[in-house]
């Protein structure tokens, strides 16, 4: 019965006809995002956390800090670990259990977007070179799926990081004093890296599909973008894209980034 959650061919035809005229069912333009709602600090126990809603799509993202050993090839740098859970709460098509491909891909794409943009200053997260560093955990949970969980997760990761505080660290004992936060923010650059996914439906390229539209997506490209610079990219789904279509993708991503930036500016200062 959950197969019925997917868009029927009948409705799909109408969506494609409308897109060909540059229109969408909810009156948005092809390069326009739905309303974005952000709430910071949804868990008092997290170093950083937020709720992001894009239309009816909702994700919760939490940032927790832990202690760990550095990787051998980066003895003076802290670590980043990004996880994502596509919860059964958020959609009848997600089952409980270990993460499946979709959740793994989402977490890895968001991870690369954060890592390659160099928004986290990993050298400042070193406590003792070669021995002890901070690990930044970014944990993403889907709460309601109405399309475009990927971009909601990307916004959530950035907002949670920008609003996170370092926990209290007991230097003598070498442990974190859980439950006590400092006023010190994480060592971040001024960049606002966002993951923006463009989808190909018929001959149209759109951003921020609703679930109804996302079911018709033939190919998608997620671009990690920050103020004019692409730092990561992932093409998913099987239909091929021409170089011209890729040009359209880059163009639409740039416009969408500006649109989103305006909407979330005050949460990422």
């Amino acid at each position: 019965m959950d197969k019925f959650q997917t868009t029927s061919d009948v409705t799909g035809e109408r969506i494609k006809q409308y897109l060909a005229k540059g229109k969408r069912f909810d009156d948005r333009k092809l390069d326009e995002f739905r309303d974005i709602e952000i709430e910071v600090g949804i868990s008092k126990k997290a170093e950083g956390s937020c709720r992001v809603k894009i239309g009816k799509t909702e994700v919760l993202v939490g940032v927790k800090m832990g202690l760990g050993t550095p990787y051998a090839d980066n003895p003076d740098k802290g670590n980043l670990m990004t996880t994502a859970e596509l919860t059964p709460l958020s959609s009848p098509r997600f089952e409980s259990g270990p993460p499946k491909f979709e959740a793994i891909e989402l977490s890895r794409v968001i991870d690369r977007g954060i890592r390659e943009s160099k928004v986290i200053d990993f050298e400042k997260l070193c406590i003792k070179e070669g021995e002890k560093v901070w690990t930044v955990f970014v944990d993403i949970y889907s709460m309601n799926d109405d399309g475009n969980l990927m971009d909601a997760a990307g916004i959530g990761a950035v907002v949670a990081l920008k609003n996170a505080r370092m926990p209290k660290y007991d230097e003598k004992k070498g442990v974190i004093v859980y439950g006590e936060m400092t006023d010190e923010k994480l060592p971040l650059s001024k960049d606002i890296p966002l993951a923006i996914t463009a989808h190909k439906i018929g001959d149209s390229i759109i951003v921020d599909p609703t679930l109804e539209e996302e079911d018709l997506s033939e190919a998608r490209v997620t671009v990690g973008f920050s103020d004019g610079i692409i730092s990561s990219m992932q093409k998913g789904n099987s239909a091929p894209l021409t170089p011209e279509e890729f040009e359209k993708v880059f163009g639409i991503v740039e416009i969408a980034w500006k649109d989103i930036f305006k909407k979330i500016e005050r949460f990422v200062k």
């Binding site: 009816k56 919760l60 709460l89 958020s90 944990d139």
Partner: protein, 235 residues
Amino acid sequence: MTKEFKRSDGRKLDEMRPMSAKVGVIPSADGSAMWKQGDTIAIAAVHGPKKMHPQHQQDPSTGKLRCNYTLMSFSVSDRARPGKNRRSQEIDQIINWAIEPALLIKNYPNMVIDVSINITQADAGTRCAGINAAVLALAHAGIPMKTMVSSVALGKLDKTLVVDINKAEEDFEEGEGSTDIPVTMTHDGKITHMQLDGKITPKQMTDVMKMAKKACDEIYEIQKKALKDSIGGKE
């Protein structure tokens, strides 16, 4: 003359933390609810009744309830590693036993009702908050039930019985320390779930059950209001 025990947050012995609830918080679910008990927040969503998969778990004599409890990684101070562990598996079954007796699901053969419970912020009493949210979500989804079900965590701090313990009280170490007693009751007074961790006499258990009924009645009023407010008002 016994000195009245002073709780760390100033509450009376039989006083609950502030509670609030809302249904319909997950639009794509068949039923959903949020339950807040002090600083503990639980969100539940129901999908079903629907055909049970995997097929070998189908029961032709009745429908089944399937609960999935998740403590989110950032809901606790010391990060909880994402994924299923033994504690959450046990809680899945505990929640199932706590709620199923109230459901009328014999008329859904070979079908399953999936309830997902996520704790977004944990300050003790998480399974109880999860049960309260799950029951609301099930009612919201239109699942037939004979009665509502409410859950609360009582406690014994040294020798004193208290209602709705918070995390600080869970960690209480003076005297006999902290005894943790989560209880779930139907509105007509039957106990569907009880656990205990600590030290208590059978005589005190009589008082525990009395306190639990009073607390569950208070929880019932909040659950009732959440369901009624969802109709006719702007959500």
